[in-house]
């Protein structure tokens, strides 16, 4: 015992008090910069590319032309919309990893409207039908696991995950039904296109901007938003103060599903005018990361989804320019996220070096 006492560790870790926001922001930014520096170094070592080339191509890939800036804004908006959708559930500690399937089902519903009603009604009526069908489909796909969770306490993670696969198979099935030639490639549909105002992505971006502000207000200033926080913190507390937990779970998932529905509607009406099994392309999962990184704050999610879209789009161009596998995208995004998540440690804790402590004493 005596020996152990003599051997003091070099440093020890102390939990911090709440850090001022500006300071935590600096740490996060520094983490991103360090991450980028590390990626530059990696490029230099592995690919023999000057680090500056990486940064320049990243910048060009995202801001190089007006079209690319709009593309970035559009990708950001779609990712943000799905992130907004997963947020209320996650805030409630309901692990909904089914956004992928919920969005896909709403895409399918919207395309079904264009196929069965296209040309039979005015465009604006069709668009309303598509929006309604999408929102309904998203809601149904989200509320099924919620009901099971509320009534029988089933595991929502597995349930929502499985619902993704069911959605994919349903899309594959309908593609076979709708495409008799057997190619399973539907192609762009002629009806149900969102009118173009100012720019072809403008309405999409504007809708998501409004939704972001709405979600911020909903989560922070609405009674329902407060109930979500309470259920997330402790279900027992929620019960004690008279919140009906089951109702809150089901209601919140209806909100989640509706937002997924809006995302699906926007993807079909403003972008693809079609559906494939990978129409959502994993964004239902990326959205969870976006939401979590922003600590479920819709306004900060704008920044976190920008970070991810910026990296994906920028590194894609870099990989193309230098003839590297596009899987490089995932490596870079992974490294940056490692730094960003890692820096949380320095926000929550501080390192105390033993010698200095002794000296101070």
């Amino acid at each position: 015992m005596a020996n152990v006492k003599k051997h003091e560790p070099l440093f020890h870790i102390v939990k911090r008090d709440r850090m001022p926001i500006w300071q935590s922001l600096i740490i996060r930014l520094a983490a991103i910069v360090l991450g980028l520096l590390f990626c530059g170094l990696l490029c230099n070592i592995i690919l023999d590319v000057k680090p500056m080339e990486l940064y320049k191509t990243l910048y060009d890939g995202v801001f190089g032309t007006e079209r690319r800036i709009w593309k970035m804004a559009k990708d950001l908006a779609v990712l943000l919309c799905i992130s907004l959708a997963v947020t209320p559930a996650f805030k409630m500690k309901f692990w909904n990893i089914g956004a992928e399937g919920q969005v896909l089902m709403s895409c399918l519903a919207a395309v079904a409207c264009t196929i069965y009603f296209g040309g039979k009604m005015p465009n604006w009526v069709l668009l309303i039908c598509m929006a309604a069908a999408s929102i309904l489909a998203g809601m149904i796909w989200a509320v099924i696991p919620a009901i099971f969770k509320a009534k029988w306490d089933t595991n929502e993670t597995l349930f929502t995950l499985m619902m993704n696969y069911v959605a994919t198979q349903l899309v594959a099935y309908f593609l076979i039904v709708w495409v008799p030639s057997g190619s399973s490639s539907l192609g762009e549909q002629a009806f149900g296109h969102m009118p173009i105002v100012y720019h072809r992505y403008f309405i999409l971006v504007a809708v998501v901007a409004v939704l972001t502000i709405f979600m911020y207000i909903y989560l922070n200033y609405f009674k329902q938003g407060y109930e979500i926080s309470v259920v997330g913190e402790s279900q027992k507390t929620a019960c004690y103060i008279g919140i009906n937990v089951k109702t809150v779970i089901i209601r919140t998932l209806i909100v989640s599903g509706a937002l997924c529905g809006i995302a699906g509607f926007l993807i079909v009406s403003a972008l693809d005018h079609s559906v494939t099994t990978d129409a959502v392309g994993g964004r239902g999962f990326t959205a969870i990361m976006v939401s979590w990184l922003a600590k479920f704050n819709p306004l900060i999610m704008v920044a976190t989804s920008f970070l991810i879209v910026f990296l994906q789009q920028g590194v894609y161009e870099f990989a193309n320019d230098y003839g590297i596998s596009t899987a490089f995208q995932n490596i870079i995004v992974g490294i940056i996220l490692f730094f960003v998540i890692g820096c949380e440690f320095f926000i929550n804790y501080k390192i105390m070096f033993t010698r200095k402590e002794v000296a101070k004493k």
Partner: protein
């Protein structure tokens, strides 16, 4: 301590910002001078390169890990070398899904100054047409598509190849191998049986496996074939397990029309001969790979580049053939193929070239039958329309005229001897 940490971090940021700005400029300059010398070199480099501001853009569904896309990438590289194009003159966009992203990628390529833009996947077509309507001074070319001949756009073109002839040749090699196995008494069942891993029950796939089967049947008359569909163009696990299931069901030889290494790998593991597609798999499957047919896209890429540079029109619907060098076979792997395969293939190839051999030969009795009867007439869906109407008679002069009314295949007849294990797809 807190202060120290924040000061250090702020410093790091400042330094890196300056470094970014400074080096960014330096690099800009370097790149500009590079570009200048490149153009200079190209000008003195002969007539083709006189068009130094010519650019080719290529949109790919996947990347080099898909044999399908790799085949296009190889074609681009070959054409690039033949025409003496520089790296800057060819821009490839990989992993572009069949959605609005394709239109976006095409527009981005226009912004980058591409004069001709090519897309490689069937589902890209409607988005390419959208881009073609918007940018009328840029040429848009699309492989495997069906709409150019009816769309009436001067700058939108389809291309394919008479790959059924290549499949037929590959089938001949398969038939010879089956004969060898039969003579050795090593057949798994009573009759030689082939297994085929297909993607979808779609004309391109059906034309492919039927011509492969007919090639085998031309030298091994009692052969039968089972086809298993995966419902995906690229799904390594599904393709591998489909091949394994076919092997377990008693197939003596496997071929495939799907884009991954799934089926060839399964064959190498089970030591079952494999006739491949899109390219040689001999490196990974030295004991089982016999031969592969593939479309060589290089002649087409050369054509569209040359014509665009010269200001000449690109054919609206181009069908590459054995004669244009678009339909080719890889080298025969002597370790797995039957003796005399290469010689026989040369002989049949000469027959295909001079027209004495027809792949979809409806005249020879018992060669192509549907429900026991000869195929005397068939209406195919050649012109794309919303109702998928069968609009053109394609059987005449004793054979099925594949890829003659449009480049993309339209043979979708289910003939005797081939069993579809899951025709749901």
């Amino acid at each position: 301590m807190k202060k120290l940490l924040s000061i250090v971090l702020a410093l790091i940021m400042l330094v890196s910002c300056f470094a970014l700005a400074a080096c960014g400029d330096a690099n800009n300059d370097a790149k500009d001078t590079d570009a200048a010398t490149d153009t200079g070199a190209a000008d003195t480099n002969g007539e083709v390169n006189a068009n130094a501001d010519f650019k080719l853009g290529v949109i790919l569904l996947h990347d080099e890990f898909s044999t399908y896309d790799l085949n296009f990438m190889n074609g681009v590289e070959e054409a690039k070398a033949a025409l003496g194009l520089t790296d800057e003159q060819v821009i490839m966009k990989k992993n572009i899904p069949e959605s609005d992203a394709c239109y976006e990628a095409a527009c981005d390529l226009v912004d980058e100054g591409c004069n001709v833009i090519f897309a490689d996947s069937f589902g890209h077509e409607t988005y390419m047409i959208k881009a073609a309507k918007e940018f009328t001074d840029v040429q848009f070319c699309h492989a495997t598509g069906t709409m150019a001949h009816t769309e009436g756009l001067a700058n939108f073109h389809n291309a394919f190849a008479s790959i059924y002839e290549g499949r037929y040749l590959a089938g001949v090699a398969a038939g010879l191998k089956l004969n060898e196995i039969k003579e050795a008494g090593a057949l798994k069942g009573d009759v030689p049986k082939m297994g085929y891993v297909g993607a979808f029950t779609y004309a391109e796939v059906m034309s492919g496996y039927t011509s492969f089967y007919l090639g085998a049947k031309s030298v091994c008359p009692d052969v039968v074939m089972d086809v298993q569909f995966t419902g995906s163009w690229y799904d390594e696990n599904a393709e591998k397990s489909a091949a394994q299931a076919l092997i377990a069901a008693g197939c003596d030889l496997i071929s495939q029309h799907a884009d991954s290494m799934g089926a060839p790998t399964a064959c190498e593991e089970a030591n079952i001969p494999n006739v491949s597609y899109n390219g040689s798999t001999v490196e990974d499957c030295p004991n089982t790979f016999i031969v592969a047919s593939r479309i060589n896209w290089a002649p087409y890429f050369e054509l569209i580049c040359k014509n665009t540079m010269a200001g000449e029109a690109i054919p609206t619907d181009y069908t590459g053939t054995i004669a244009t060098g678009s339909v080719v076979l890889t080298d025969v792997n002597a370790q797995a193929a039957a003796a005399g395969t290469a010689e026989k293939l040369e002989e049949v190839k000469a027959g295909l070239l001079d027209g004495s051999v027809k792949v979809f030969d409806t005249a020879t009795e018992g060669f192509i039958t549907v429900g026991g009867a000869a195929l005397a007439s068939y209406m195919a869906d050649v012109d794309t329309d919303a109702a998928y109407e069968k609009d053109t008679e394609v059987v005449a002069d004793g054979y099925f005229h594949e890829s003659e009314f449009r480049s993309a295949p339209y043979f979708d007849v289910q003939i005797d001897g081939i069993t579809l294990l899951n025709s749901a797809y």
